[in-house]
Amino acid sequence: MILLDKYMAAGRGVLPLDSAAKGSRLLIVEIPPGRSRMQLIRLGILEGEAVRVIERMPGGTVVIEKNRREIAIGAVLARTLLVAPIRFDHA
């Protein structure tokens, strides 16, 4: 989480996944407990992992990419996942 603290310190806020812009790279910050959490862990989407938004539908359904894999996340779930945008110009 050191990485995350750095971004927070740089003034980059944490936002729900459904508000992230298409094409942005994100750090997963928080996955709420529940049935979907376990499924996400199995798929390799954990806190601290980096993903990229490849599509964001009107209404908030999001498709993220991680290591050549594309995962569609419904609007209801995307709203509850917290992420932090990664900006390479600060890295």
Binding site: R35, S36, R37, M38, Q39, L40, I41, R42, L43, G44, L46, I54, E55, M57, P58, G59, G60, T61, V63, N67, R68, R69, E70, I71, A72, I73, G74, A75, V76, L77, A78
Partner: protein
């Protein structure tokens, strides 16, 4: 490698607890296990040849296939991301894995990071495993490199490279089965397993109990573990460490298939693609099969060949006008109309629809379609996954009602079944509706479509509110877009069509029998007379239309066809068609609904369709006529 030869393991604990489904067999069991869309079925088809058995797993609604290869019984399992109890698919895969003597774990080498999670779990379970590293051709095409030897050493199980689509590497499947062995379990986990072993009998089950699997814990009357998440995260980290050393990435190249995949989920290009896909399905199923082919099979084979033949067959023994004759070979006879309907109308349609579905599924388009429409379906309390039963409903509502099993929750099944039964016209009916509407003009067509669509949305919205609870969120791993393999599409279509006919046929017979009895006893006329005042007064239709409505109970298209003979004005056609579309689906779909959803719920939906149909059509009638 005889020291590793796969033999039938001692089965005391298995038999003692009487796992459902698999009869205790002397033949060793080989299970094909893997994530969805990794090519398991291709390996299975190769091993088992043509002689396979598709069946429902007892106590569940999930189908699985079983075949024989040499001295082994081979099982194809539903694709899962882990062994657990999150869904019916997982339950079936779990039970088969627990009984397997060897596991062939099919791994998608391109997405190895995702797939190894399951591999590690199988190894932690202490199962004998061989890994088939599939899609090796794509790995090379993508500029990736997977070190199979290093992977084998790290996992402690043999790893074989395959390209299932080209049957490359399949010559070593024998070795893969023979050499399957226990891999390197996580040391700390292994230690904990042994403490549990005495209570539950097998390492595999001990692990599942540790992972908090309540089903297995209950089976052995022990407390389920509380470390599910810790174990999963630890396993995920172990997988990531392995990936770091075995996977070498060169420069990434964008593939055409990936680009098409992105187009499919981009709203601007995705919606036109969806329209194009639906139009192609319509051309294939709606035109080619439903109209041209069925016209031939239903009339020529059914009504002109089969029905006279079967009438001639029973004529010497049974008087056709007797009650038995009416039931058997009368207008709605179970040997005449029902057989024609099932074999010469429904079967071609079902095959065509399942083929279209298999093509969409195997190409990877279906999950993208589900993603595209997810938000829209949220509005009626469903998620994108419900797009499958809804599309199938336009083929056959009975078929679609069975498919609602795959939905995530009871609430979603309930909503989907209700929408199907109320507002989705099946293909048999659509053909007649289209014919009548095209005669009534563009305005009639528009009013009809808007009314049905509005009812669909209103019904979904009301159910969403009334039923409470939350919609299961969409969470799917999108498989790469691929060209479907024809043999796999054919197999899938054949399995599913066979399975559907096997399951649904009896309901069609029973339904026809019921209506036959109503006809003999005069109940059919009573029903018609009951409806007549509503038909003439409220709907402002000719009295004879009520006969068409009642006929609609037998077969939806009969209801519509009965309207052909009536002298109706354009507004009357709209009112009549809205009525028969909204109200009671065919009797077979009601029977299947009773089976899937229970008598009470089915009765509510069934009576609801009558009420809604007459209210909506009546209001329309007051406005139009």
């Amino acid at each position: 490698m005889h020291s590793h030869a796969v033999k039938r393991a001692p089965r005391e604990h298995v038999e003692k607890h009487n796992h459902p489904g698999l009869a205790p067999a002397a033949r060793p069991i080989v299970a094909l296990v893997g994530n969805p869309n990794v090519g398991k079925s291709l390996v299975f088809n190769y091993l088992s040849g043509m002689y396979v058995d598709v069946s429902n797993y007892p106590g569940t609604t999930i189908e699985f296939t079983q075949g024989r290869y040499k001295e082994f019984d081979v099982f194809d399992t539903p694709g899962v991301y882990g062994i657990g109890s999150f869904s019916d698919e997982e339950n079936v895969t779990r039970e088969i894995v627990l009984q397997a003597d060897a596991v062939l774990n099919v791994v998608d080498a391109v997405h190895i990071e995702r797939d190894l999670f399951l591999t590690m779990q199988l190894i932690d379970m202490g199962k004998k495993v061989s890994v088939l590293l599939n899609f090796m051709d794509e790995v090379e095409a993508l500029g990736l490199q997977v070190d199979a030897e290093l992977l084998s050493q790290t996992l402690g199980v043999p790893v074989f490279r395959t390209t299932a689509t080209k049957r490359r590497g399949f010559d070593r499947l024998d070795e893969a089965i023979e050499q399957a062995r226990r891999g390197r379990q996580d040391a700390a986990l292994h230690h904990k397993l042994h403490a549990m072993l005495a209570a539950v009998g097998s390492e595999a089950e001990a692990l599942l109990v540790l992972e908090g699997n309540e089903t297995i814990a209950a089976r052995h009357a022990v407390a389920s573990g509380t470390e599910r998440e810790a174990i999963a995260i630890d396993r995920r980290n172990r997988v990531n460490r392995i990936i770091d050393v075995v996977l070498i990435e060169h420069e990434g190249r964008a593939r055409l298939s990936a680009t098409i995949g992105h187009w499919a989920i981009n709203p601007w290009s995705g919606v036109p693609m969806l329209v194009a896909a639906l139009y192609l399905i319509y051309l294939f199923v709606g035109r080619l099969v439903a109209q041209d082919l069925v016209k031939f099979t239903e009339v020529k084979l059914g009504q002109e060949l089969w029905e006279p033949w079967v009438r001639g067959l029973v004529a010497p023994y049974i008087v056709p006008s007797s009650w038995l004759g009416t039931l058997l070979v009368g207008e709605f006879g179970i040997a005449t109309m029902t057989v024609t309907y099932l074999l010469f109308l429904l079967l071609p349609l079902v095959v065509a629809f399942y083929a279209a579905l298999a093509l969409m599924e195997d190409s990877g388009y279906l999950p993208r379609l589900a993603t595209l429409v997810d938000r829209a379906l949220n509005a009626v309390g469903l998620n994108g996954g419900a797009v499958i039963p809804l599309i199938l409903g336009f083929g056959c509502v009975t078929m679609a009602t069975i498919t609602t099993r795959m939905l995530g929750s009871e609430r979603e099944k309930r909503i989907a079944v209700a929408i199907l039964q109320f507002a989705v016209p099946c293909s048999a009916q659509l053909a007649v509706v289209a014919a009548l509407l095209s005669g009534a003009g563009f305005a009639a067509m528009t009013i009809y479509s808007i009314t049905i669509f509005a009812t669909f949305v209103a019904l979904g919205t009301v159910l969403e509110r009334v039923l409470g609870g939350e919609t299961t969120p969409l969470l799917i791993d999108l498989p790469p877009m691929r060209l479907p393999r024809l043999d796999n599409v054919i197999r899938k279509t054949a399995y599913r069509s066979y399975y559907f006919m096997k399951e649904a046929s009896s309901w069609f017979f029973l339904g026809a029998l019921g209506v036959g009895v109503m006809q003999i006893t005069g109940l059919l006329d009573v029903w018609q007379d009951l409806l007549a005042p509503v038909t003439t007064g409220w709907l402002q239709l000719p009295r004879a239309a009520s006969r068409a409505f009642v006929m609609g109970m037998v077969r939806r298209d009969f209801g519509a066809a009965g309207l052909y003979q009536l002298p109706l004005s354009a507004p009357q056609i709209v009112v009549a068609l809205v009525t028969i579309t909204l109200f009671t689906p065919c009797i077979a779909s009601v029977m299947v609904m009773v089976k899937e959803r229970g008598l009470k719920e089915a009765a509510i939906v069934w009576s609801g369709t009558w009420i809604v149909a007459f209210i909506v059509a009546g209001l329309l009638s007051q406005l139009l006529i």
